[in-house]
Amino acid sequence: MKLLIKNGHLIDPAANENTGMNVLVEDGKVVAWLRLSEDGPEDAEVFDASGLLVAPGFIDLHVHLREPGQEHKETIASGCSAAVAGGWTSICPMPNTKPINDNAAITRYMIEQAEHSGLANVFPIGAITKSSDGVELAEMAEMKSAGAVAVSDDGRPVPSAGMMRRAMQYARDHNLPVIDHCEDKSLSAGGVMHEGRVSLLLGLKGMPALAEDIDAVRDLLLARETGAHIHIAHVSTRGTIEAIRQAKKEGVNVTCEVAPHHFTLTDKAVEGYDTNTKMAPPLRSQDHLEAILEAIADGTIDAIATDHAPHHADEKALEYDRAPFGITGLETGVGLAFNELVHKGIIGLERLVELCSANPAKIFGLAGRGTLAPGSVADITVLDPELKWTYDLAVTRSKSRNSPFGGWEFVGAPVATFVAGKHVYSRSK
């Protein structure tokens, strides 16, 4: 089966290309780049990408798919469906399923469910410790053999520095990145939003930025000592950013991601007590948001990852301090990146593709992805940077609607998604 993505503007930072180009796909792989004047083989199906950007498929390093265990919130199939509609051809689900993805059987199950749905690729993240209890190491190497690409205890970060050190030593042995949700729970316990003026005004218990900074600094020191690859998830504070910037200078093997809501909203959004503004780490103050934008612009931030965290409406329709943490993000992440980063001049299109595809592929070592160089997998995201659209939660593909972005207007969107050459999504006109 042949496919020609025709007349598009190819942006492939990993291959150092940014030009009008036809991309020829055969049997799920990119086989050649052709000049715009070249039509390719006659038997190729043609996708007309005139006026559109053609990018290597976007890779979301941080999602929650809720299967197994909480299928009323999201299934792997519904999550994959939301992913491709949001421009993501690959997604990496965190292990906080029920039971926890702390063994090869669950890892395999997740991959099989994704293959069955035939939409996005799913690269699971395994637990660092059994049941993410922080006590005994999980079978990381077995999970890796089954297809896991990294390890993390996600929202239950390993409390003991001694355990984390051992986990890093072991993960390094197996060439697995250790993903760190940085939160010292002794500082953030009971908190439901960023600690600052707004939490004072709203009478809600705060989670200080310090809770993130302290854990990040601890784990950066451990990474420096162990030589492990540490990937800091959803960076949200100036302090963490400064620590990462410094660690990178010193040669620590560290990468990091930022979530779209953290470069879009501040804690002011919590006014009104809408539980769809509650997530961990929380929406921070303007100063932290500015630090994030600087870090996106100067290259300190390596990736954009949505932290898509579906919860059923009944679970979110609670008192602010009782509602669960997390918002959905797969369908709005790219739109927010266009609105807040590209159209505001923080980054260019090339850097956008780097943050959403080239770098994520490198960070988790996803061979043959993050680029459309001939020979690579034909995961392709086609974007229209000027398309105006409104996010309608009533038609979300996720099983959950816990987003603060319902009704938001965007300029710029993914308009078509291909996974291994298969056309899995087209935005309806």
Binding site: L200, L201, G203, Y273, A317, E319, D321
Partner: protein, 314 residues
């Protein structure tokens, strides 16, 4: 004449203007004498329904609201939800919609979680009155404190007020700070730094300072407001022991002597005698604690009246 209160709900003092606050206090003044009549009832709210929805235990506030409603001839229903709505499988929203379907005119709500009145106000047709939400606000308490201060000092603007104790977890302190600073008073707060963090000053634009010591806060003030120490906080290690607290932070006769000679003492109750307030202070002529309770009914009458569409006196 314009009514002073242009809103559907009373969610907090933070949203109010000084004019609105004055309007509520003036309305409360006009209701004061009803409670001293032989027949303590006027027909102002006849045919209106008030639901007191209390998710958190309360005797004083609930009784005060109930009496206020009844003295205005409203039909008052008390609902105490002792267990959380979560444990019954009913969401907060379900509870609100169920009650709203019975067409009450006003729902008075108290809840241990901040923001619940705001969440209910978005979905309810009835006026929502906040009777205390978590550590956020307790607007009618601040209004009755203001009424007490006005009674004894004839004004609020220009006064110096000290608020002492667990500021961090106190909805009474927050509502009072908003009200007093909006009305032109200056407020000093003090207590152990674990309960009175220095950045609490950011709560309002101006008029609030965190005093270094309790003595600094009391020095030369017109009003000393003491907050209740919640004994369970002691388990959270905010301070070592109640006896140490009493010695270093409690309002004793000696400390009160630093205030102005005619300074009054307020406490939202119930008091822990011998801990945050010495009995001699609580029982002294300076103490206006029972006036606070008295004015509580008048203030709540005013709030219920205005929230259900009544007009302030000309």
């Amino acid at each position: 004449m314009e009514k002073p209160f242009h809103r559907k709900d009373l969610l907090g003092i933070r949203d109010l203007t000084a004019e609105e606050i004055t309007g509520i206090l003036d309305t409360a003044e006009s209701f004061r004498e009803i409670s001293s009549r032989e027949i303590k009832k006027v027909p102002a709210l006849r045919g209106k329904t008030v639901i007191n929805l209390f998710f958190e235990a309360s005797t004083r506030t609930r009784t005060s609201f109930e009496l206020a409603a009844k003295r205005l001839s409203a039909d008052a229903v008390n609902i105490s939800v002792s267990t959380s709505s979560v444990s019954k499988g009913e969401t907060l929203i379900d509870t609100a919609l169920t009650l709203d379907a019975m067409s009450p005119d006003c729902i008075v709500v108290r809840h241990s979680s901040a923001g619940v009145p705001h969440q209910l106000a978005r979905i309810s047709r009835a006026a929502i009155v906040n009777a205390g939400d978590g550590t956020n606000e307790h607007p009618t308490q601040a209004l009755l404190d203001a009424m007490t201060i006005r009674e004894h000092k004839q004004r609020i603007a220009g006064l110096q007020v000290a608020i002492l104790g667990d500021i961090l977890h106190s909805r009474v302190a927050r509502s009072n700070i908003h009200l007093l600073t909006k009305m032109g008073a200056t407020v000093r707060v003090a207590g152990p730094k674990t309960l009175v963090p220095e950045d609490f000053e950011y709560l309002v634009e101006e008029g609030l300072t965190v005093a270094p010591t309790v003595e600094d806060a009391i020095e030369g003030t017109d009003v000393v407001m003491i907050l209740r120490i919640q004994k369970e906080r002691q388990d959270s290690a905010f301070f070592p022991t109640l006896s140490e607290y009493a010695i270093h932070y409690g309002l004793t006769q000696d400390r009160l002597a630093l205030a102005k000679e005619d300074a009054i003492v307020l406490h939202p109750g119930p008091m822990n005698r011998g801990i945050e307030i010495a009995s001699e202070v609580a029982d002294s002529a300076r103490s206006q604690i029972l006036d606070q309770v008295k004015y509580g009914v008048a203030v709540r009458m005013a709030v219920l009246y205005l929230a259900t569409g009544g007009k302030a006196p000309e």
